[in-house]
């Protein structure tokens, strides 16, 4: 609407004018960062408080769950089982939810996520530190591979639109996105693992083989890769189609822009047009979607990690849900929410870095 460049020309001393503009832009930008960060903290607080209440509302508390288990297994009296479980847990089922909440919040401010209820003495933060890297590894690798592949294939579809390649890839993309990711997981297990016997599913439980030493050595890395391969493949297949189709439509709209025509008319090399003019602009809207999908894929990790018995955060969350381990659940939710919110913040700020229009005006 209003031209952003003209004040520079008006001022008598261009240097100071430029500096002034940069200074002002930085100010707006910093305020913007501050605002976004504040919003993020508030969101995390609101969401974790909400889940705190929800989790306490779930039927059955950790003691009940274990007491029932012991009753079934050992056949002792209810009182006996209850006394045994209650003494071993650091959990008072009669404390009010508000007191529990305030305690938890107080600890949280000191970055303390508390101890696991069902295995006393284990710090939740340590457990998360143990499981989280594997999930980050699998989800991160999966998303990265599918994002890059999707962008390349999507651009190819846009460039060769209406060719057999485009039709084939379109159909392929629709096909693979249509199928839920856990179904892909099961299909991989059933068809490749069992019918064709390409790998032994049973040996791929966990995140790495038990007989290797953690560290930068070949057996560990290859074992970790082998264990993560199936989840990664599943994440790639289930998200690839979306990137392809989005990148295709995004590229097609950019290809119609005047600046691309002008670039062609100027006789720039095709490779330069593709990378600097088309690719960069077409990818912009996809970054926002990438952050949204991080949250989604992390969330769906619960099923995927269950199916492949991959010991990541989703597996840990599922285990703590079944035992009603409140503090562990709470910790995982906090981490997941923080990841989603942080991804959104990074997308906002990153979008600003990539798109100068947003950068200068500080608009979202």
């Amino acid at each position: 609407m209003v031209s952003q460049t003209s004040p520079m020309l008006e001022d008598a001393k261009p240097e100071s004018a430029t500096e002034r503009i940069i200074e002002r832009a930085m100010k707006i930008y910093q305020n913007y960062i501050l605002r976004v960060l504040l919003q993020a903290v508030l969101t995390v607080w609101a969401v974790t408080s909400f889940t705190f209440i929800l989790i306490r509302l779930m039927p059955g508390n950790p003691i009940d769950v274990l007491v029932e288990q012991i009753l079934v297994q050992e056949g002792i009296s209810y009182e006996e089982a209850y006394a045994r479980v209650a003494s071993s847990f650091q959990f008072d089922p009669d404390a009010s939810t508000l007191d529990q909440y305030l305690d938890w919040l107080g600890d949280l401010i000191r970055f303390d996520l508390g101890e696991s209820i069902t295995s006393p003495g284990t710090k939740v933060i340590d457990e998360i530190a143990r499981f989280l890297p594997w999930t980050v590894f699998a989800v991160g690798a999966g998303l990265l591979i599918s994002f890059i592949l999707g962008i390349v294939l999507g651009m190819a579809m846009a460039y060769y639109r209406n060719s057999p390649l485009d039709h084939l890839l379109s159909l392929f993309a629709s096909f693979i996105t249509g199928i839920p990711n856990y179904i892909w997981g099961l299909l991989i297990v059933i068809i490749l693992g069992i019918q064709f016997g390409l790998f032994n599913v049973g040996q791929l439980r966990g995140t790495y083989a038990s007989d290797v030493e953690i560290g930068f050595n070949y057996p560990f890395i290859s074992s970790a890769l082998a264990h993560a391969a199936l989840p990664i493949i599943t994440y790639v297949i289930s998200t690839l189609g979306g990137w392809m189709l989005n990148m295709k439509s995004s590229t097609m709209s950019v290809l119609n822009e005047d600046y691309v025509n002008v670039a062609e008319a100027r006789g720039l090399r095709d490779s330069r047009i593709i990378s600097a003019y088309v690719g960069r602009n077409a990818m912009l809207p996809l970054f926002t979607q990438l952050t949204i999908s991080i949250g989604f894929v992390l969330g769906s990790g619960v099923v995927i990690e269950e199916i492949f018995v991959y010991w990541g955060l989703g597996h840990y969350l599922f285990a703590s849900i079944t035992t009603r381990d409140y503090t562990s659940m709470q910790g995982v939710f906090l981490i997941l929410t923080m990841t989603v919110v942080m991804a959104n913040v990074l997308a906002d700020l990153g979008y600003g870095l990539l798109d100068p229009r947003v950068r200068v005006s500080g608009e979202k």
């Binding site: 209003v2 031209s3 003209s6 004040p7 020309l9 008006e10 707006i28 005006s361 500080g362 608009e363």
Partner: protein, 338 residues
């Protein structure tokens, strides 16, 4: 001079962007006389469209008063407010954006007829729509009435847009650049039709355009108001204003109009502006907003005091109002030399 049907009194309007106010209109005062043809002229960004929307009641002014038939429109309630709503209609610039693509021509013209209970029953509505389409020369009507907008040409669409504005029997029509997106070859036809409508239906027309030549042709019997950066700088009878333009900006504009006779055009002295850049609305210069570009800039006056519209003191047989301090003082203009 006939009665004013609408009046704008010290209208200000600003828009917010990134928490800073951008003044789009400042201290705009003028009257729209009944049954007249008023042209508002100015380059893009001068606030002429905003003025049109404020006239039509689609945008409230930030401050200032609007009178319709002598009444402040903010005090209107109920049926009086509806009466004002219906009486002032707007015709948009883009004939492709102003018609809803999902409705047929009949549907979009019959909605207001039914809503305001001008007709009862489907066939009365159809008859009225038929009449309206004939009024705007969309004949043969049966080829048009049940079509969708995408099946019509730009000129036809603009006629539909005018017919739609006529459904509520308005007394004022604000035509915002209504012919600028139509092919030049059919512009004159559209303009001619609008002039006929004024005579047949007794409507006042406020025509907004960036093209002074068009305004000159169209409002020869009416008045022209020239706008620059959110202010009205000159307003008066067309013939007088064109013959002896007084505001420097008007002079510059007129000097830029090509004449049909090339000899004349070449003979015309083209006035050189001091600067080609239009100041940004966020950083308006002090004093008269035109002074950084004005060839007749008077230092110490134009960059200090804000001129208001007024008839020059020593020019008794003149009715054109000008917002330029040196002109109002009756001084002889001298080209500024730095």
């Amino acid at each position: 001079m006939s009665e004013p049907i609408m009046q704008l009194e010290s209208i200000y309007r600003s828009f917010k962007k990134d928490r800073t106010d951008i003044p789009v209109l400042q201290d705009v005062n003028f009257a729209v006389n009944n049954l007249e043809f008023l042209c508002l002229v100015g380059e893009s960004g001068c606030g002429k469209t905003t003025t049109g929307k404020i006239l039509a009641g689609l945008l409230p002014p930030s401050s200032g008063k609007i009178y319709f038939e002598g009444q402040d429109i903010t005090t209107l309630r109920g049926s009086a407010r509806n009466h004002y709503r219906r009486s002032v209609q707007i015709i948009h610039q883009d004939p492709y954006a102003s018609l809803n693509p999902t409705h047929t021509i009949y549907e979009m013209l019959s909605f207001p007829l039914f809503h305001h209970k001008f007709v009862r029953g489907k066939h009365q509505a159809r008859e009225r729509v038929w009449e309206l389409l004939e009024l705007v020369d969309l004949t043969p009507v049966e080829d048009v009435i049940d079509k969708y907008p995408y099946q019509l040409s730009g000129g036809q669409r603009q006629r539909v847009s005018i017919a739609r504005a006529l459904t509520t029997n308005p007394s004022v029509i604000v035509a915002d650049e209504s012919v600028s997106m139509v092919d030049v070859s059919i512009r004159i036809g559209l303009l001619q039709m609008m002039m006929n409508l004024r005579d047949e239906l007794d409507v006042t027309i406020v025509f907004i355009t960036h093209d002074l030549a068009l305004a000159k042709y169209f409002a020869w019997e009416g008045r022209i108001g020239v706008m620059y950066l959110g202010r009205l700088v000159e307003i008066g009878k067309t013939q007088e204003l064109i013959a002896t333009p007084r505001h420097p900006y008007t002079k510059v504009l007129l000097s830029a109009i090509p004449e049909p006779d090339p000899e004349k055009t070449r003979a015309k002295r083209h006035i050189q502006l001091r600067s080609e850049d239009i100041p940004r609305l966020t950083e308006l210069p002090d004093g008269c907003t035109f002074h950084p570009r004005c060839p007749w800039y008077v230092e110490g006056v134009c960059d200090v005091d804000v001129p208001r519209l007024g008839i020059p003191a020593n020019d008794s047989n003149n009715t054109v109002e000008v917002a330029c301090i040196p002109v109002q003082r009756g001084e002889e203009l001298r080209l500024y030399e730095s």
